[in-house]
Point group: C2
């Protein structure tokens, strides 16, 4: 007896094969009636989900999507890999990961190479440099979803964190704890997330009627060591910061090292940091579900691969302020 194909199920349910694919793969944004019709057709044809799933995209050798990130060594990016991989596996695709090391030339070569190899779709964390032309060119050739940062004007879906809101909440927390000279330690200010976090920090200061002393702002910190050096300078004369907001987890680790040599220092940071809960000092962190960031981005991508022509979507994931560390 012939195995029923996705087309048989689609015909019986009166929907497109792409819709069957989306139901089989448990995707969101499917009307309950549509889901019910497809599931009824599957049941009538007497086949299990998995058997249907195996018939998807028959004869195609590709079935690969690529994720292009900055640095696989950062727990933030590796959580995104895990999330994207879960969704890719569910869609029976292989996920390959390439890294840009924050270098635009590397990003361009990697993306062009992946498109030449005909991956089915791209998940991309763009580097700071806005090369809208490149992203425009590629977005016209292959489904593409941006993660964490959005190149302006490129017509592609994206998933980002609420950077402004998170940073604002963290800085407001330090102010309410009594700190008045709060330093901001960031990386490349041309990166959208960095700009948004610095704006959130400034907003919190403005809301509290505090002046924003330019001497308290340190940018260009790309490694733990950079951040430790910059924080040490900010915490001593003449700047004499009494607290620090760290733009990301690498910077936060550097700040923690620098602060260990000081007495009372208020510390808050964007991103979670492992073992901070066992440190003998309080640390406020802006956390979120990075695995979910990868999952949501991959879900949007497979929706496009499945043929969706919906308007460009931009999801903003919420953040949470948590209190880590122990008061000694």
């Amino acid at each position: 007896m012939r195995q029923p194909t996705m087309r048989d199920v689609a015909k019986a349910a009166g929907v497109s094969p792409a819709t069957v694919s989306r139901v089989v793969n448990d995707e969101r944004y499917i009307r309950p009636e549509t889901r019910a019709a497809v599931e009824r057709a599957i049941a009538e044809l007497g086949f299990h989900r998995n058997e249907i799933a195996r018939t998807l995209r028959p004869g195609q050798a590709a079935n690969t999507v690529a994720l292009v990130i900055e640095d696989p060594g950062n727990p933030f990016w590796s959580a995104i890999i895990r999330g994207a991989e879960q969704i890719a596996r569910r869609h029976r695709h292989m996920l390959v990961v390439g890294s840009t090391g924050q270098d635009y030339d590397q990003e361009r070569d990697l993306l062009r190479d992946l498109v030449r190899r005909r991956v089915d779709g791209l998940l991309v964390v763009p580097t700071a440099h806005d090369h809208v032309d490149l992203h425009h060119e590629l977005a016209g050739r292959v489904p593409m979803v941006f993660i964490d940062r959005v190149p302006p004007g490129v017509p592609a879906d994206s998933v980002v964190l609420d950077s402004f809101g998170g940073a604002q909440r963290a800085a407001a927390h330090l102010i309410s704890a009594g700190y008045r000279r709060i330093a901001y330690l960031g990386g490349d200010p041309a990166v959208h997330t960095g700009a948004a976090r610095q704006a959130g920090y400034r907003q919190a200061l403005a809301d509290a009627g505090l002046p924003c002393d330019p001497a308290l702002i340190s940018l260009g910190n790309h490694t733990v060591e950079d951040a430790a050096r910059s924080a040490a300078a900010l915490l001593t004369a003449p700047v004499n910061a009494d607290a620090v907001f760290a733009d990301n987890n690498r910077i936060c680790v550097g700040v923690l090292h620098a602060a260990a040599a000081h007495g009372e220092v208020g510390i808050a940071g964007f991103d979670d940091v492992e073992l901070v809960d066992l440190l003998p000092r309080p640390v406020a962190l802006i956390t979120y579900d990075a695995v979910e960031l990868g999952r949501q981005a991959a879900t949007l991508l497979f929706d496009r691969i499945g043929g969706s022509t919906a308007d460009v979507r931009r999801l903003v994931l919420p953040t949470t302020l948590v209190h880590r560390g122990r008061r000694s």
Copy 2:
């Protein structure tokens, strides 16, 4: 004027093109006379290293090597990615990364898929399950280097850590610090590194004339949470361990959480753990250069891709015992 190719340089130097490639790429294990001859030929032909490097493998569309690891979320694996990527970039190859999640089916599908796609070479951290047949089959079709674990009997190069020696040194350190009931917390004992580390631990106990109480051995800890639960049980009655050796960094983080609820506990672990140096307790860690592990493995791989038919090589990288954390 025609650009000189690698073959021109090889001819002038009286060596093989593979040797020129190795000199250009600054690889090790090249005799000084050979290096000098190649460099002289490059100088005579009036070309810079980089220009020669660009002529390598002309016309090839592939230029991809793949790294298959367990979990990109663990800093150990991400350091290996970084090291392998450095070498791949130097050879103008793209590195793609796939993960097995310690699942043999996933490993098999991924490896077969990569070979079908004609990657130029594979760097593989094999899962615990010994499927020598699979590795044998693939090693016959594509250059392959194993990292961290070695499937027995497969004729392929490998780079591993000195697991036995490192664990022995860590356990001996706990003994010399006065601990007598030292627990061993490990993962899957079928994994070669786990078996070697447990053997090193047992050797240290035997060397000190201490009995090895089976109640002190806890296996099957795969997550931070598993390890925290197991450590909490070992540190209380009836086992009453006074120290713990953690087989890897995930397990060590779990042990640190469990130990925070106890008084004096000796802790040692294999792998480095970020921020441990700021904790208010001493922790002894077995460290090594994981980036170098990736670099060495990729270097062996490109040597094979370049045509080397040398005997199968197994590099064992040394480990170091470091004292982290602070005495309160």
